[in-house]
Every structure is written in C-alpha cells, then in structure tokens.
Subunit: 115 residues, 2 copies
DNA sequence: CCAACATATAACCAAATGCTTATGTGTTTA
DNA sequence: TAAACACATAAGCATTTGGTTATATGTTGG
C-alpha cells in the first residue's frame, strides 16, 4: 500500500469536503482518465453550465486541478503537482471507471479534440 | 496497494462528505487508534457536548461507527463490518497519529476505562 | 468588425450544515 | 429514591453550499 507523506488533518479535510460531492467526485474520476473541457462536463451532467463552472472553480482554487486554454476551450485535468495528488488517486482508485461516459460523448460526436 | 471492491460513487461521496469535516475526520482517526467515549471527545475538542454527540450521530447513522454502552458511558469505535471500513482506513492511513491526545487525557486522569 | 460559441462571474435563493442553549433520558450511587 | 453524571434530542440561528438565471468576457470565423 502506497504511503503519502505529511498529510495534515485540516488540509486533508478540505480536500475530502471537495470530493464529498457526487458531481465533483465524478468529475475528478473522469479527469483521472481523460482530460475534459467544460462543455463536455455540461453534456455529461444534468446541470447548467454555470453550475459546472463553479464546481471546477472550487477544484481549481484548491489546487486539485489545472486549467489550460486551447483555442475556444478550456481543458481541465488533475494537477499532478498538487501535494494531494497521490492521496486523491488513492481515494478514487476503486471507484467505477467513468470512461464509458466519455465514450458515449465520442459516439455522439460531442467529444472535443484539439489535435 | 490494497483494493476495495464495488465502491459506488454516490455512497463514497457521502462517506467523503462525512470525513470532510475537520472534527469528524479527527474523531475517526482517533477511533482508528483508540475506542473513545463521548466525554473524552468533549475533553479533546473545544466544543460543547451536544456538538460532539451530533457529529457522532452522523457517523453512526452512516454505519461508519459503532456505539456500545458500558455502564454510564457510551463508547464509539470504527465499525469494522461497514462496507466502507477498508476504504476509510485507506483514507486516514497517512494522517498524523492522534494518540498523543489520548495520552494527554490519560496524563490528566481524564481517560475513561471500564475494565 | 460582428456573430456565434465557450466559459466565467454576479446576484439571488432554498436547503443543508454546524454550532448554540435548553431539556429529556438512562445509569449509578449514596 | 433522589442527586449526580453521561449522553441524546429539540429548537433556534448564522453560515455555507449548490443550484438557478442573467450577464460579462474571451476566442474564432465569416
């Protein structure tokens, strides 16, 4: 079992609070498998675009995720340099893969790709 | 690294929400090291007895902890039969030990023991 | 430069959260 | 059996949370 160093209780509680929301937890699991932009999340969740943006902002403010603009789109991904990155990986490790959702997007031609 | 089976996103999010509070996270870490009764938690946290009871109730309602009355006191401990038990162990594994707090209680003669 | 698109922000609101104080319930002991 | 103790529950309240709609900002393409 992997060991993370120097996790303090307060910081960890804050990360867990962020992950303690079904939408954000699913987002994080998705991002652990695929980079995603906002409009993809909007398609994946039954929720307005501002609601999605606000969840992503919380994750970004905490340093859990990165944003990267590519043209029109802003892509979000897990921040691998966060002190909590490996902790988060541990937490989401056994959650069911959400890859099928992204595959459904692809099947519907809704997947954004900037290559 | 240990693997837990069949964790669903919604249930996991609920557990994480419970752990996403500094007080409850500390309580759970303490209980992973020592069984504790309510009055000990009251001594350990700068908080009223009802506040402590309410945190413990949430943990109990979710099946994360057990309660056991022994005489006057009610002792709380991690419920090892919870489907989330090993997941919780994984989450709290690298948090700093809280054993020193219980040792302080013992030093002050405030530790409850029913043997 | 302007229309269309992607995203962020602001303002608002209902529901949930986490505390408080007051009081009820169960157990022990004198 | 009554007082003392441990704990739970109820009610009230301020704050936080997570959504909504409306609007602002930034980017692209005609």
């Amino acid at each position: 079992m992997q060991t993370n160093e120097a996790l303090d209780i307060e910081g960890t509680a804050n990360v867990l609070k962020l992950l303690g929301d079904k939408t954000r937890l699913t987002m994080v699991k998705i991002m652990s498998e695929h980079e995603c932009c906002v409009c993809e999340f909007v398609d994946l969740f039954d929720m307005s675009q501002p609601a999605i943006s606000q969840h992503l902002r919380k994750l970004k403010d905490s340093g859990i995720v990165n944003e990267a603009r590519r043209g029109q789109w802003i892509f979000y991904s897990l921040n691998q340099t966060s002190p909590y990155h490996s902790f988060i990986q541990t937490v989401i490790k056994d959650l069911p893969s959400q890859a099928f959702k992204v595959e459904e997007l692809t099947a519907q031609g809704k997947r954004i790709c900037c290559d």
